[in-house]
Amino acid sequence: MLKKIILGAASIAVAGSMYTTTPAFAEDTLYIPSLSYRTGAFAGAGIPISNGYADYFAMLNARDGGIGGAKVVVEECETGYKADKGVECYEATKGNGALVYNPYSTGITLQLIPKAPVDEIPILSMGYGLSAAAIGEKFPWVFNYPASYWSQMSSILKYIDSQGGIKGKKIGFIYLDVGYGKEPIPLLDKLAPEMGFEWVGFPVAGKDMQNQAATWLNVRKERPDWMIAWSFGAMTPTAVKEAAKIRFPMDKFVGNWWSGGHADLEQVGAPGKGYLAANFSGIGTDFPALQDVIKHVVDAGNSKANKEDIGKVNYNRGLFNAVIMAEAIRSAQAKTGKKGINGADMRLGLENFVLDEARLKEIGLEGFTAPVVGSCADHEGAGSIFLQQWNGSDWERVSDLIAPMTEVVRPLLEEAADNYVKEQTDWKTQSCG
């Protein structure tokens, strides 16, 4: 019996592997792998991101016939937010002529960073990954437009300062106790004496994301004036619910851009009213580009997203990620004069694209985000962020664009980049003249 099962399974496997051949890509297609996490504990953010990302390229294909006449092929590979699966996806797809990788997990990004210069495929880790990669001289192949975590934290602190001053205040910092959550700590340490605030950290173990009662008791004990959250996945709704429980004033509780998705707050609903979160991509569908996505992709039945999910925070973030890549591809095409570009051309594109107000308007995203301009030296673009507030059922943008404190962040980034490179021998750097 067992023998038959095994033989059957084996024969199916053999038949299947004979059938699957790697699809051949024509000269003038642009192959872009999409590392998705539609499964696992963080799927709530991963699903809309992958949808927005795929839909924008699908829209460009349907509306304009691709980018510069070349069709975009997006192939999704599921990582489940796990580093080893991410690397497997990377190895499996890089041979197909991948232009750029968006690892969509800090763990995967860290593993791909050393591989990027060797394989000559750039990495665009948008709003996650290694902050130090913002230093273009040290990390020629890694980009983290539109802002690094440190820039984001400095913008959040600026916002707090603008709301009645930060001097003499006590800031609570609740974070997921992994690399991602601990990343802003050096910046807090540096800015606390400069801006005159006191900060206290509240780590939440990855296993206790949904079990934060003790943490919030501690918050109650410490009585901070403001709370900043570096949370993700199930940690966010739990944190907001616990904050509501101890009656922490919601409008003094600020999440980062991964702590403010619709999926996170829809589960909290009314008690989360007033909760703030940072964001860098517009909310809603009132942009011509999004209307095009709805018209050409969603209504044509080619989207994996439900229509009501278009325009939500993480969907738009995935879409914005695709926008930056599309702009970089255009710039690479213009620079090289080729239709079908390769990874090295893409890197040039990522350093040279210009997504200013005029261009944003041209592609139908006026006011969607702060302008981002690629450069050789600055791989984060030091983009501005804005704050959004939960009104009990939806997010609303409540602040103007807040620029980061580049003068403080940049030296820290440089120091971190130096430390990274110091550990490596034969690390490839570049000089930006």
């Binding site: 299947g16 499964t39 690399g179």
Partner: protein
């Protein structure tokens, strides 16, 4: 017929108790080693080496480690992931402190740290066993994971909290870091795994290994016959953790290149446990078979199921759905094997060998 041992006479005890008493087995093992050392690095592409063979070997080594503890000594452990982590962090700290030393020395030496920690968390096994031990090894798992995060010294105060593997050489060749070629890394892993498996097989068939198996089969009888449970169990924990530690160091240094704590979480422990269940408890061959199935099977499903699905049904299947299907199938496979063949793939292999031997007769 195919596997006949007629005419192979054993004239000495050495020949009779040899590792591969049958000549064909000897040929096979040399044949496989030749394929592994020569053909695979020569013909295997980069994807095959990097994404399949290297991880497979790393997991096989970790499975050998866990099998020593669970399969041979009968002490179930869910702390494998953390013990692998101890090895990886130890190797990282050592190579940062002494950058010029041959990295392979440190990869092996990191097992020692892991062995010490493993033996420490093995102490409760002197008083308890079975499910209770599951709880204590989970305690080790969770406590060590916490320590990896909370002790910044371990990851060199890196703001990202991760360990990033520096470029290191061994015998004048670049072995770690992104510039190391797949072939070199593969050969390093393969050599370490082959040598350590050979060691393991000798330990197991020697005095220590037999005392482990006596403890597993009946601890009281073993004690009455002069096996000291303290030594037997703690040595099993130490040796097992040593293997896991080396596997962890290989995983980070040779395979992944950078690691966050999540790669050592309790899911890793389960993954390795599945490998030995499926492969066969108490079989070294089983470690390799189990690692192959648990690690490679999902990759195959991931890659071939969506196109097949698209042909036989009108719907499409996404990469993520294929992943979930693979996970369900692994679960079903585990349960099926436990019901139909609790000794795992290794036992199936033995049955197949027997069939080949007597073919065309039924017995």
């Amino acid at each position: 017929m195919f596997y006949r041992e007629a005419g192979q006479y054993k004239t000495s005890y050495e020949a009779d108790s040899a590792k591969f008493p049958i000549r064909q087995d000897k040929w096979f093992i040399w044949f496989y080693l030749a394929i592994a050392f020569i053909a695979i690095p020569y013909f295997g592409g980069q994807f095959f080496l990097d994404a399949i063979m290297i991880p497979f070997l790393v997991f096989a080594l970790a499975a050998v480690g866990l099998n020593i503890l669970t399969g041979y000594t009968g002490q179930i452990s869910l702390g494998t992931g953390a013990f692998m982590g101890v090895g990886a962090y130890a190797c990282y700290k050592m190579t940062l402190a002494f950058p010029d030393v041959n990295i392979i020395v440190f990869i092996i030496a990191s097992g020692i740290f892991s062995a010490i920690i493993g033996a420490f968390f093995g102490l409760p096994s002197l008083r308890i066993k079975g499910f209770y031990l599951v709880v204590t090894t989970l305690a080790a798992q969770f406590f060590l994971e916490w320590a990896f995060i909370r002790i910044p010294w371990l990851y060199n105060y890196n703001p990202s909290g991760a360990i990033e593997v520096p470029q290191r050489e061994a015998f004048g060749v670049i072995v770690t870091g992104a510039s190391a070629s797949s072939e070199v890394r593969y050969l390093v892993v393969l050599s370490v795994v082959v040598i350590m498996t050979w060691f393991a097989s000798n330990i197991i068939s020697g005095r220590i290994g037999r005392s482990w198996m006596m403890i597993r089969d009946m601890d009281i009888a073993a004690e009455l016959m002069g096996v000291r449970p303290l030594y037997a169990k703690l040595s099993a924990f130490a040796v097992s953790s040593f293997y896991c530690g080396v596997a962890g160091a290989l995983m980070v240094f040779i395979w992944q290149g950078a690691a966050e704590v999540e790669v050592f979480d309790y899911n890793r422990s389960f993954q390795i446990l599945f490998m030995i269940i499926l492969g066969g408890l108490g079989s070294l061959l089983g470690c390799f078979l189990g690692a192959a199935v648990i690690f490679i099977f999902p990759i195959i499903i991931h890659n071939i199921l969506p196109p097949i699905w698209a042909i036989i049904t009108p719907w499409t299947m996404s990469s993520s759905q294929a992943d979930l299907v693979a996970a369900v199938m692994i679960g079903v496979l585990i349960v099926t094997f436990l019901i139909m063949e609790p000794h795992g793939l290794a036992r199936l292999w033995a049955i197949m060998k027997q069939k080949l031997r007597v073919w065309p007769f039924p017995y």
